[in-house]
């Protein structure tokens, strides 16, 4: 009996460590990523988490909730850097004059954290999954044979492949690499749709699908001239 106790203890400790890694051990992903905002003496964790008097389960630094209750949870934390100060990237995602993917403010996993995780830099833009490839389908179901093909090489390049919301260019279609992490030659969901800055009332299309004054679809025409 005594002989099996030490290996058993080691096994239990390893299991606990693994569990702790799964739950809390994502620091290693942040270090060296764009979210590693540490300076000597100021740890990367501190930028978003504080051990005492914090807000919510994730120990976020936060003041009292504003009265509006639409600006709570993780959203203020994201905007506190993505507002044009610490970074100019992503400010358009908080532009209330643009069409944005619906969120439930303050609900865990239903706000910015629906698609992004500050601890996973692997897939570009800190997305939970490779952009376009699996991310959209994790909620929107799988595109079937009767849908426009995605995850395939495009036969022709779009007329406007410059879609880049960070520079204010919110129109146009764009091709992605296979992982969906950057520009490439594959059709993805995000070739026609944009979670941030799509057209109002058009399933977040980046270009109008129908033009009331024309028999030609501007969106389709962009790749099928």
């Amino acid at each position: 009996m005594r002989r099996i106790v030490p290996p058993l203890a080691v096994a239990v400790a390893m299991l606990l460590a693994l569990g702790a890694y799964g739950a809390f051990g994502q620091q290693g992903h942040v270090i060296g990523s764009k979210h590693d905002l540490a300076s000597p003496g100021v740890a990367a964790c501190e930028q978003c988490h504080i051990p005492h008097d914090a807000y919510g389960d994730y120990l976020w630094a936060r003041g009292p909730n504003p009265a509006g209750e639409t600006y709570v949870g993780v959203r203020p934390l994201c905007y506190s850097c993505h507002d044009g100060t610490v970074t100019e990237e992503g400010r358009y995602a908080f532009d209330e004059t643009l069409s944005q993917h619906p969120t439930v403010p303050g609900e865990p996993s239903k706000d910015c954290d629906m698609c992004h995780n500050a601890h996973t830099p692997e897939y570009g833009n800190f997305l939970l999954f490779p952009s376009g490839a699996n991310l959209c389908r994790s909620c929107h179901g799988k595109a079937g044979p009767t849908d426009h093909p995605v995850d395939v090489d495009a036969a022709v390049a779009p007329l406007d492949s410059q879609w880049n919301p960070s520079t204010g260019d919110l129109s146009g279609t764009r091709l992605w690499d296979a992982a969906g992490a950057g520009p490439g030659n594959q059709v993805k969901c995000l070739s026609c749709h944009s979670a941030h800055g799509g057209l109002e009332g058009s399933d977040l299309s980046t270009m109008p699908y129908r033009d009331p004054t024309s028999t030609i679809s501007p969106l389709c025409q962009n790749c099928h001239p």
Partner: protein
Amino acid sequence: MKQGPMPLWGSRFRRWIGERMQALGRQRWLLVALGLVALLGLVVYLVAFFPQRASNPRVTTSVFQAALMEHLQAPQPLDGQPPITWNQPAGMAVLHGTRFVLDTGNDRILELDDAGAVRAIIDRTIDERVALQGPMAIASDGEYLYVANSGAHQILVLTPAGQVVKAIDLANPEAPDGVPPRPIGLAVAANGDILVSDAASHRVLRYDPDGRLLQAIGAGKRESGTKGFNTPGGIAIDAAGNIYVVDILNGRVVQLSPDGAFLGQFGELGDTAGTFSRPKEVAIDATGKVYVSDGLLAAVQVFGPQGEYLGFIGREEPGDSDSGSLFRAPAGLKVAGDTLYVVDRFLGLFAFQVLP
């Protein structure tokens, strides 16, 4: 291996205790008494310690008395024009008594009249060189407006009417290390020097009025202490010429001498009184009080000239620290006379009376 039930830990322990108690004889009552005293001590500790922890000086505990005089969630429209709104405004300057709001999301500047109505729009229709790209800071020297045109890596010097006097290209060959600076904070010194917070190189850059780079303060990478900044943000200059720089991601305000030498600092990362979560801008009033906006704490904290914490501004009920915040994302600050202006990225312009 032994057969039959294993002796339990508990029974062994009880037997051991029993034997010790026997050995102690009458002294066991002394032991029990000592135990009771220890228990009493624990109760006293818990009663005394926990309320103290609960009343830690959170940022919600010390309200600085500042009367809310005005709140413009959106500006009034021009006469006869359709309604106008700003989009994520980042700052405000006052020139000849007129307020100029930096409408960052719309790449323009709105000149307001005393009633908060838009008197003029400054954008490229006034002067095609006013090609603003996500401008993050605005200041004035009493004669001109200075705009940190962040996305275009330049400082624009404008007349109040919006004509370009000078466009200082920060990405010129003199730029440090060839990295185009991204200016997000700005102040003009009494001698005309322009101090710029460069988020790209983590430095504060000093330019002469002709746009020549005179000084780069910082290490060129994320630093702390006296070596440099993590992300320098808002800049303000006090009556003596000392420079106050918000170091956003180090959660502090750094004080520099007029020639840029490190004098001191206050604050650290946190969300208790006098600490910062995401400090953005700084302003100094005529009495030397220092105001620091914090986008994450949804408050403006107030400090004395030496960095002593005086309280914070931004509750719906000015006397009730537990009432909700007036702000969502307070950013730009400007003191004009007895008034502190706060520009909130989502809720527009607030004016507080801060001096008697």
